[in-house]
Subunit: 141 residues, 2 copies
Amino acid sequence: MRWNELEFRHLEYAIAVNSHGQFLQAALALDIDQGFLSKQIQKLEANLGFQLFDRTTRPLRLTAAGQTFLSRAEQIIEQTKNAIKLAEETQDGKRGRLNVSINTSIANSKLPDIIRGFREQFPDVQLILHELASLCKKPPG
Amino acid sequence: MRWNELEFRHLEYAIAVNSHGQFLQAALALDIDQGFLSKQIQKLEANLGFQLFDRTTRPLRLTAAGQTFLSRAEQIIEQTKNAIKLAEETQDGKRGRLNVSINTSIANSKLPDIIRGFREQFPDVQLILHELASLCKKPPG
DNA sequence: TATGATTACGTGGATCGTAAGGATT
DNA sequence: AATCCTTACGATCCACGTAATCATA
């Protein structure tokens, strides 16, 4: 099996062929050429080292190995897209950790409302609060 | 983000760069050219839509988004390799379901040993046993 | 100044569409 | 006979190595 030639795109191609039961409709749905789709699935099968589809019947059916692989491939695609989404959110500051130093004099008045508003807008950012006064104290000894 | 240009190979490239802290050693470990690795990581970052590495310091460090993404990418690669392995085993008959029709006359003598031996050799094959006699009965009515 | 990342460039090979040829029902 | 999977062919684009250039420490 040629692992380094595996592409995410090919997994989606195979999923589309399976769900449509034929190459023609799958190619239309994917907005690519039918002959090209056929070759790409052949390439995927060659890379994996086993057949995904049984071509001797129509509509096409998955082989046993194809069933085992494709059901997991769908999860893998979902997880990958999710990983990208989480990383984008981290990039945009909607996720992660934020250290905030506060002045105790306002801590008991306005702070609760501020925090509540922040949490609503950025539920996945972990707020870490420090009292400003305590940071200025000299270490003991 | 250009999902359909994403390749598994590129995830491993990024993981190698991170674990080595530099492109040069990562390229040697991957047995590819250093300039080529640099371009492939740039391409991966362009496809993802965010930077993975901070180049302004050496050794290189992951960005926050890079950390979020790469830790998940490692799991995704592992799951994908596992899915292929399971499918290969299905292909080779080491996994799956096997229907067996048996003659009741030997059912109580040799069968338990046979089944035990089979289970030891193919622990992931699900055995489904049928009595031969019952299959020959005419349906009621 | 030494190490190492990026860019420039060339060639062999792959991608993808168009269209013809073979299977399956 | 109709559907549709596979193969042939050609143009464009990309992969990947070599080597020069730029940036970090």
